[in-house]
Amino acid sequence: MRKYLIQRFFFGILSLIAATLIVFVLSRAQGDPLLLYAKPGGYGVSPEQIAALEEKLALDRPLIVQYLIWLGRVVRGDMGETLLSERPVSDVIGEKLGATMQLGLLAWIFATLVGVPLGVLSAVKRGSVWDYLGRAFALFGQAAPVFFLGILGILLFGVQLGWLPAGLRPVQDPFWPSQAKALVMPTIALGWLPAAVYLRLTRSAMLEVLDSEYVKLARAKGASGRAVIWRHALRNALIPPITVSALVLVGFLEGSVVVEAVFAWPGIGRMAVESIHNNDFPLLTGIILMFAVLYVVGSFVADVAYTIVDPRIRYDQS
């Protein structure tokens, strides 16, 4: 186990390096980044000043050296400054992180609360109306583009019925009740796909477990139907949904990019797209680093959780 964890940690770091390196190379491939700071001969900037700037930003060095310099700073907790606002990248990310986390957390709760019980229900009542409803829900969630769900929601509940705000989170308001309405549609748009994934996984795992010997034994011993389903069967059937949680997390990060664009949500995803269009590569590299860190940590936690919920799993043996 320990060896496995160390190995995982090592490859996690490797993932981070790969992700940031790709961004680094791509963002420099757009042309001389120096031009983003100062145009030679423009606005009365002297060549000496430009040379000084180049040296300060280490843009005169080879790309790989630039990357290593950046990496060295990041390890010490300094992600540099954004190009546009010239503020520390970590501050800018920190400001927007809350809104994205709020959305992601709610979407995850929605996905779990909807997906898992519906999955159990459609497995237990296989072939019934519930089963068909659940499967339709899953089929729809896996096929509908997130942005289309959002647009449809805005059209229906925002424009036509006027029940919910058609976008925009009330920005400076930290209190929940006033935000609740604005949160409904983004949460559902973001959470539907993971809910569908949870549903399908729970359903198929549940069907398998309900067919196993120990569940039959529990039934034969006279345990009530409800106890068998929720206490005996569900515990084992939850293992697959737990394992995909890391992937669900990535889904949220990628989904948040789209959802935040649709609902004008002031979070990381929207900022990421803006930073790309603004050529703000220090910010973008920081965001991508954060995304990759979240993914690596998330999948690590999911792996560890996996061994805890299912003691049969032993990573060392494989």
Partner: protein, 325 residues
């Protein structure tokens, strides 16, 4: 058997006319209850993926014959018919007699036919999905085959690469690449192929690991077959089902990814009619002309749903082990 049952049934009952007698016999012989037409209809629908196949068939036809099916071009502008609603909202057409065109599914803000653009959009979606999927599947299968067959450090290296690859925030990298290299169809296809390849490697490899311990593989080796020959002739046919199922299950995701990229303005160039682009454009006209965005959206929904449904069906038939996907 038929001769035996037939006299029996006639001798006991009153003379029955020819037709009902034969149906009676058939149901007796087969041992099944007589089914109504609707029973059979639902049975067939549930057993075979007829509706999804129909949807996909229509999409392919629409994509291939788009220029023949539609009277106008995807970029033909008609300012008299701008934001014309779908044909069933006839009061608009009566109120605007100067507009001579009839729009089945409405027109966008410069009077381009939504349906025509959707037909042409199907071409792009289909082409992008098919090409990027093929490239991705070939690469992914090759990696899985080689990793599983040779094992050792090759296996270790390949699987770790897949792990690292899966950790990349792909959407953002794709947007960045689109900004860096400019938007074009080929860039989108390359990007999607880069997403697609890593998906099935693990399953293919697992399959190869079990196959390569079989006796017939050892025999092939004893007979002097080269590694390449063993992989291509003896192992590949055994994993082809897995590969096809995985590929089918991936099509929907690729169509969605392409649409998402286009929607975010980092996919197919905005001038090209694609479903993602149409939704992106139509978003601005949502409150006045909902049909611009909604119909392409439903097209994506329907096609992806059909592909996924078909993929599920194929998986249950060919490779039930993959059920957890």
């Amino acid at each position: 058997m038929t001769e035996q049952t037939a006299p029996d049934s006639t001798s006991q009952s009153e003379p029955i006319d020819e037709h009902s007698q034969s149906t009676l016999m058939a149901s007796q012989i087969l041992g099944i209850q007589e089914q109504t037409f609707s029973h059979k209809f639902w049975y067939v629908l549930r057993r075979w993926p007829i509706l999804p196949m129909l949807v996909l068939f229509v999409m392919v036809i629409a994509a291939v014959f788009a220029p023949l099916l539609s009277p106008t071009g995807p970029r033909d502008i008609n300012l008299r018919g701008r934001a014309a609603p779908p044909v069933w909202q006839s009061d608009w057409y009566e109120a605007n007699p100067k507009n001579e065109q009839t729009y089945l599914l409405g027109a966008d803000h410069v009077g381009r036919d939504v349906l025509t653009r959707m037909l042409y959009g199907a071409r792009i979606s289909l082409m992008v999905a098919v090409i990027s999927l093929s490239v991705g599947v070939v690469i992914g299968s090759a990696v899985g085959l080689v990793a599983g067959y040779y094992g050792g450090w090759i296996d270790e290296f390949a699987m770790r690469t897949v792990d690292v690859w899966n950790a990349l925030p792909f959407l953002l990298i794709a947007i960045l690449a689109a900004v860096t290299f400019g938007q074009s169809v080929s860039i989108v296809m390359i990007l999607l192929a880069l997403v697609a390849w890593a998906g099935g490697v693990r399953n293919v490899r697992a399959e190869v690991l079990t196959l390569k311990t079989r006796d017939y593989i050892s025999l092939a080796r004893i007979a002097g077959a080269s590694d390449f020959r063993i992989i291509m002739r003896h192992i590949l046919p055994g994993v082809v089902n897995t590969i096809v199922v995985l590929a089918t299950l991936r099509v929907g995701g690729l169509i969605l990814a392409e649409a998402s990229l286009s929607f975010l303005g980092a996919g197919i160039p905005a001038a090209t009619p694609t479903w993602g682009n149409m939704i992106s454009e139509g978003r601005e006209w949502l409150s006045t002309a909902w049909w611009i965005a909604v119909f392409p959206g439903f097209a994506i929904l329907l096609v992806v749903m059909s592909v996924n449904f078909f993929g599920d069906w194929l998986r249950d038939r060919w490779d039930p082990k993959l059920r957890q996907l």
